[in-house]
Symmetry: C2
Subunit: 174 residues, 2 copies
DNA sequence: TATTTATAATTAACATGTGAACTATTTTTT
DNA sequence: AAAAAATAGTTCACATGTTAATTATAAATA
């Protein structure tokens, strides 16, 4: 007898629910919750992997985005655009990364409204050290799919995205 | 010329990144972020649909879980189990739902440590009114997939869940 | 050129979630 | 029965995110 999935409690409820509501879109309701459920677990997993380094999935992603920019330097506005996160949150994240000594704030030469966020040496070293570990975790997670399934999953996610995608707005494109 | 996807900024970055890191698991990295990205949009969408009723996706889900329980009544502990959410958060959510007049707190007859959360008449009416609208939104969202794709997507999500699922722990099973 | 408008970053207030510590009970063990 | 352990709910402190308002600067326009 195999142990119950963490999704089981919800499945019992929806089963009961569907019995009383025969016209409910049961499959769609399950898909919605299943998507959320998997997201939550994946997210917890990554945070757990990153916490020994004083990172979480947000701060890690911010470092990677800075690292992926020429000169390892970016404006908060561009970072907000790349992370699809509010400017306010970028300010807070920057505070945190500066506090930890991984990022520096400098005034921009061209535009006195702008700030430049750049990786410190410690920041670069951290990224280089953690990258291979993260790659390994990604490979482990997605190795549950074979080549065809990977292809299918990406295709389906992009199709789903197409249904709900929003116009870009904003003016901070690079 | 079609407008850019909101996922485009990330795709540019990862492209640049992969050029400098040929051994990076590019596809896995994209899948990870794409999953997050779609989650965020789906979530925003649902919150937007629910906000006219003074609901968000959490409070709505809590109401549905109570509604799906015999007698429309549940202990915070069971609700926490069904929602896969901390007890602390259930306390806060309950405060909110009670405040809005949709839920009542009563002492349990059997066990003096326990509380019973039950729907008020207003709560039941709200659920019955919002349910068909939510069903419609679910149908709209997932109608982007045909029958085979729905089947595939659910299969793949469950497979992914299998890779990261956690033992249930806890003692609040029904 | 002077005025208006837009942009960049921040602050303040608040929304939503978590874990640790606490209180009150119930259950288990000795 | 008394002591110990487990369970239910709450409060507190804090993590992580958002929107609205504010300040400074740059760009557009009249």
């Amino acid at each position: 007898m195999n142990p119950l999935s963490s999704f089981q409690p919800f499945e019992s409820k929806i089963e009961e629910f569907a019995n009383h509501h025969p016209d409910a879109p049961k499959r769609e309701i399950i898909l919605n919750r299943l998507y959320y459920h998997v997201f939550k677990l994946v997210s917890e997993r990554q945070n757990h992997q990153l916490s020994p380094f004083g990172l979480n999935s947000s701060s890690w992603f911010a470092l990677i985005m800075i690292h992926s920019t020429p000169d390892n330097a970016i404006n908060p506005c561009n970072l907000s655009y790349a992370m699809v996160s509010s400017r306010t949150n970028i300010t807070r994240l920057s505070d945190e990364l500066v506090e930890k000594g991984w990022v520096e704030r400098h005034a921009s030469g061209e535009d006195r409204r702008k700030i430049v966020l750049s990786l410190t040496q410690a920041g670069r070293q951290l990224v280089e050290a953690v990258l291979p570990l993260q790659w390994q975790h990604y490979r482990e997670l997605w190795s549950v799919f074979n080549a065809v399934e990977l292809e299918q999953f990406e295709f389906l996610l992009r199709k789903l995205l197409g249904r709900i995608d929003l116009p870009m707005g904003g003016s901070c494109e690079e």
